[in-house]
Structures are given as structure tokens and as C-alpha cells.
């Protein structure tokens, strides 16, 4: 078996709060093959954003390993890390706060190149900026505009261009389309998929939107309160969701199709709680319709049920 491009082993990130440790990411294991997209879904507060940031070492993990091409980047020193940063990039959700309002479009796109000095010649840098702008579909007349002069869709294109500037292998996409209107969202999704086809990019696509995640990813991880509760190929997960939380999530998605009109029956009660000092056992137990006594006794590990289909549930 080939070495996955990205792999995490027992990755944990706890934040200290006055009320105790917040288990934002709790023992997450995942693998992403080169050229593929891993979707990470979950509701707000499930730790999916922190997971993405921890993998990139924008947040230092509490424990665990992050392997890039089989090597643990958490062991890397400053210099090695700088080198590997060129390969690992991120696209943010909020197209407003992710762009420095004092820089022009070309300055924003050129910034990573200047920092890493991959191109030092001024003219070549300009050429590169134009090339990137063309790649993401930004008209060249916008080169000296400021982000606040542009709409959300164009701003997100700048964010994509910036992420591409260093020619990365892997991009964490943190809800890149959630702030956009559907028609613009579709334009950006198409762009990202085209880029993946052209450049063999690997994505970790974080979102709360199940229809988007199904569309774009080959494999999906479902997260609940910092833990991965189910992991399967996209097709398998939607065809045969195993974890009661995944089932509830899928039931809750409103489908724009009358024939699939849900009866709003399989709705789970209650709301997500906070992952501060969680009790042992399944974190979904409090809301789970199929809860049993064994669910709250001890932590339930993610186990492979069928080929490539993992679930953390006492029922299986």
C-alpha cells in the first residue's frame, strides 16, 4: 500500500478554559491519499476547523502525530517547517477577514512568494501573479484593487490564488463556500475541482453542508464534539450511514426535491453540548435514539465494520 499524503495519528488539541479543558480535537486518526478529497462534516463546535488548523500546525496539537509523506511534521524544526509550509496551504471561510484590507489583490497573491522567496525576480513575480489570477478567473484589471472593492465570490478567488501561489500539494479548505450565495458557491466549487484535476491537488474539505461534501469528496469523516464518529467513502456513507448521528444528520438535510421530501420524522432531539471535560463514553449518547447502557461506560473506539467503513458506535 502506498503512503498516504497526509495522515494523523491520535491527534488531540485541548484548549484550556476557566471551566476546564475543551476537547476541540480528541484522538482523530485519518488518512488522505494523494489527489483525493477528504470531506470533514459536522455541526458548529465539533472541532472540524481546529482539526484543519492543527494539521497545518497553525495550532500546536496537544498530542498525536501529523504525517506528511510519511514523516511527522510535528518533529520538524523551524527551518524544515518553513520548507514544508510551501506544500501545505489553507483557504478560509470568511472572504472578508481572510484578506488583509490594506493590500491590493496582486500584493495579497504575491505575499507568500515574497515570504518564501521562491521567485525573486520582479518581472517574473508579476508574470506569476497574472498567471495565478487567470487560473482562478480574476480579470486582470482587478490587479490593483483592494479586497473591499470586490464581491464575496471574487474575494474567495483571491484566497484560492493565494493558496496556490507556492504550488502546494495539499490544501485545507475551511468552509470555503459557506459564506457565498448558491450561484457563486457553484462557480467556486467548479473552480476548485478543475484545479484538482489539473494539478493533482489533495484537499481536506471542511464543511457543514452535506450536499457540498458529497459532491466534492471521495471519502468523508463525520465529526461530533471533537471526535470522528464515522469514516467511509462518500458513496458508502450516503448509501449506508451507520452511526446514529450520521443518520440523523442525513435525515435533517432538506433536499430540494419533492420526491425525497422528508417527513421530518427522524429528527433527533436536543442540542450539541460543549466539549469541556467530556464524560467517558459516546459523546452522542445524550441525544442518541438508540442509546444503551454500554454507551456511557467507556470510550468507544473507531472500528472498521466493512471495507474502509469505520464507525465508533456500540451498536456494531
Amino acid at each position: 500500500m502506498s503512503v498516504p499524503l497526509i495522515e494523523t495519528k491520535g491527534l488531540k488539541k485541548y484548549f484550556k478554559t476557566p471551566k476546564g479543558d475543551l476537547h476541540a480535537v480528541d484522538d482523530v486518526n485519518l488518512k488522505i491519499e494523494k489527489g483525493k478529497t477528504l470531506g470533514v462534516v459536522g455541526e458548529s463546535g465539533c472541532g472540524k476547523s481546529t482539526l484543519g488548523r492543527t494539521i497545518l500546525r497553525l495550532v500546536e496539537p496537544t498530542a498525536g502525530e501529523v504525517l506528511y509523506n510519511g514523516k511527522n511534521i510535528l518533529d520538524y524544526g523551524k527551518k524544515q517547517m518553513l520548507e514544508v509550509r510551501k506544500d501545505l496551504q489553507i483557504i478560509f471561510q470568511d472572504p472578508y477577514s481572510s484578506l488583509n484590507p490594506r493590500l491590493t489583490v496582486s500584493e495579497i497573491i504575491a505575499e507568500p512568494i515574497k515570504v518564501c522567496r521562491t521567485i525573486t525576480d520582479k518581472a517574473a513575480l508579476d508574470d506569476k501573479v497574472y498567471e495565478l489570477m487567470e487560473t482562478v478567473g480574476l480579470a486582470e484589471r482587478l490587479v490593483n484593487s483592494y479586497p473591499h472593492e470586490l464581491d464575496g465570490g471574487r474575494r474567495q478567488r483571491i484566497g484560492v490564488a493565494r493558496a496556490l501561489a507556492l504550488g502546494p500539494q495539499f490544501i485545507v479548505c475551511d468552509e470555503p463556500v459557506s459564506a457565498l450565495d448558491v450561484s457563486i458557491q457553484a462557480q467556486i466549487l467548479n473552480l476548485m475541482m478543475d484545479l484538482q484535476d489539473d494539478r493533482g491537488l489533495t484537499y481536506m474539505f471542511i464543511t457543514h453542508d452535506l450536499s457540498v461534501v458529497k459532491h466534492i469528496s471521495q471519502e468523508i469523516v463525520v465529526m461530533y464534539l471533537g471526535q470522528c464518529v464515522e469514516r467511509a467513502s462518500s458513496e458508502e456513507l450516503f448509501r449506508k450511514p451507520l452511526h446514529p448521528y450520521t443518520q440523523a444528520l442525513l435525515d435533517a438535510v432538506p433536499v430540494p426535491n419533492l420526491r425525497h421530501k422528508q417527513q421530518l420524522t427522524g429528527i433527533i432531539k436536543g442540542e450539541i453540548t460543549s466539549p469541556i471535560n467530556p464524560k467517558p463514553g459516546c459523546r452522542f449518547a445524550a441525544r442518541c435514539p438508540k442509546v444503551t447502557a454500554s454507551c456511557t461506560k467507556e470510550d468507544i473506539q473507531l472500528r472498521e465494520i466493512a471495507g474502509g467503513h469505520y464507525v465508533a458506535c456500540a451498536l456494531y
Binding site: F92, P101, T104, V115, N144
Partner: protein
């Protein structure tokens, strides 16, 4: 020049300073403030070319005491026969100089403290901010008086006293603006491509945090001018015979029943200078604030 560069120059870059200036210009009151302050600054800088310091502002002329404003002495003369106009314009030099220098120094020191606290956070932040809190608990005027009590009066001591009293405020302001910027995603984006701390501070944080700090600095020059005048008025600031607006009023207080102009004219100059700075500060805030509105 490559073709690309030519293209780039074709789409002209709009300077952000220019667009701020355009918005500032629209605010007539702020523009008025700027003009008034510019005039005061001009007078303060070129005072020596307008009147002679020794002859007009310092030397006593007992034959010319309490002369009401006239063509010869447009603001009249004081109890020692000195020309009020000359003393007023040299007073402008002191007030504006001390005000601006104090704030510049306080800003510089406060910025270092506030920036370290805000950027590094944690233990450094906690320690520095607790110390600043203690300083802030002492009312500014009282702290200044205490320092004057220790060092004695005189311009340099006043400058030190006022600067020390202002540092905590600026440390806080700088820290707060840095914290606001620090949480934005573009800082994270910069970190993601390995940008160094110093570059993040210089290129991403400072340009975005500077606006509110400049506004506060402007407004604080105004309050500092008021404090200098007040300290001098109670006799703990600039000492006579050096012409200073506040001490001029203290001198004239006993004769104000018969010579109101000795009180009214210096007061008006303080009020106008301070108002000009306030208007400028407000105008600047409006020009910078609307989140770079579309």
C-alpha cells in the same frame, strides 16, 4: 519592462492614504480643525520671526502695564507691561510642543508595551497589563502632580510627568487594536506560508491597527494641552516668566475684575487649539472607520 508590468501600471493603484484624505476632506468641520491647527502650528514654529522673544514676551515695561487691546498691542499688555500677543504666540509653542512630544513619547513607549502584550499574550500580557492597571488606577492629573512633586517643576519634568501618566493608556489602546487584528484570518494565512513574526507585525498588523491609534493620539494631544495649562495654572507646570497660557491666566487672576481680556484671550487660544485637535481626531476617525466601506 515585461508586458505584464506594463499591464499592471495601466491599472493604477489607488493610494489608501489618498482615499482617507478624500473622505476626511468631505467633513467640513474636520477640515476647519485642520486649518486652525495648521495656523497654530505655523505660529508656534515661526514665532521668532513674528515677534522678539526677549523684548516683547519677557522684558518688563512698567510704563505700559494693563494696556487694553489696541493697534499697537492687539491683545493688550499684562501686569508687567509685556505684550500679550507675543506671549500668546510663544505660549502656543510651549503648549503644542509639550503636547505633541508627550504623546509621541507616550505612544512610542506604550506601543512597545502594548504590542508585546497583545502579540505574545499569555504570561507577558498578564504581567504587563497588571502593571498598567496599577498606573491607570491613579488619576492622570494626580500622577502628574506626584511626579512633579518629586522632580520639581520645569518643562522637562512636566514632559516626563505627563508622558509617564499617558503611557498606560496607550499601552492599552495599542494592545486592544492588535488583539482585534490578530484574530483575523489573514494573520493565520500569513502564518500558513511561514511568514516571520516581524513581517506579520510590520506588514499585516501595524497597517491595520494604526488607524484607531492615530485617532487616539490626536485626541490625546488635545487633552494633554489642557492638562499642561491646568498644571501651570495651579503653579506646578511651566514657571513664569516663560510665557504659557495657563500660567498667564494664573498671573492675571487677581486683576481679572478690571482686565478681563487677560483671562479671555489665553483661554480662547487654548479652547481653539484643543477644539481643532478634537475636530481633526473625530474627522480622522470617521474617515478611517467605516470599515473601508464600499
Amino acid at each position: 519592462m515585461t508586458e505584464q508590468q506594463r499591464k499592471k501600471t495601466a491599472y493604477k493603484k489607488k493610494s489608501q492614504l489618498m482615499s482617507i484624505w478624500h473622505r476626511f476632506k468631505k467633513n467640513k468641520l474636520a477640515l476647519f480643525g485642520l486649518v486652525v491647527f495648521a495656523i497654530m502650528l505655523f505660529i508656534a514654529i515661526f514665532a521668532d520671526f513674528i515677534v522678539d522673544y526677549e523684548r516683547d514676551a519677557i522684558s518688563q515695561h512698567m510704563t505700559k502695564r494693563f494696556m487694553s487691546p489696541s493697534a499697537e498691542h492687539i491683545f493688550g499688555t499684562d501686569g508687567f507691561g509685556r505684550d500679550m500677543f507675543a506671549r500668546i504666540i510663544f505660549g502656543a509653542r510651549i503648549s503644542i510642543f509639550v503636547g505633541v512630544v508627550t504623546i509621541a513619547l507616550a505612544l512610542a513607549v506604550g506601543a512597545v508595551i502594548g504590542a508585546s502584550a497583545g502579540y505574545y499574550g499569555g504570561y507577558i500580557d498578564e504581567t504587563l497589563m497588571r502593571i498598567m492597571d496599577v498606573f491607570l488606577a491613579i488619576p492622570q492629573m494626580i500622577l502628574a502632580i506626584a511626579i512633579v512633586a518629586a522632580l520639581g517643576t520645569g518643562m522637562v519634568n512636566i514632559l516626563i510627568a505627563l508622558t509617564v501618566a499617558q503611557v498606560p493608556k496607550f499601552a492599552r489602546i495599542v494592545r486592544a487594536s492588535i488583539l482585534t487584528v490578530k484574530t483575523q484570518d489573514f494573520i493565520e494565512a500569513a502564518k500558513a506560508c511561514g511568514t516571520s513574526d516581524s513581517r506579520i507585525i510590520a506588514r499585516h498588523i501595524i497597517p491595520n491597527a494604526i488607524g484607531p491609534i492615530v485617532v487616539q493620539a490626536t485626541l490625546n494631544v488635545a487633552t494633554t494641552i489642557l492638562v499642561i495649562a491646568a498644571l501651570s495654572f495651579v503653579g506646578l507646570g511651566i514657571q513664569p516668566p516663560t510665557p504659557e497660557w495657563g500660567s498667564m491666566m494664573a498671573d492675571a487672576k487677581s486683576q481679572m475684575r478690571y482686565h478681563e481680556y487677560l483671562i479671555i484671550i489665553p483661554g480662547l487660544f487654548i479652547a481653539f487649539t484643543v477644539m481643532a485637535l478634537n475636530l481633526m481626531g473625530d474627522g480622522l476617525r470617521d474617515a478611517l472607520d467605516p470599515r473601508l466601506k464600499n
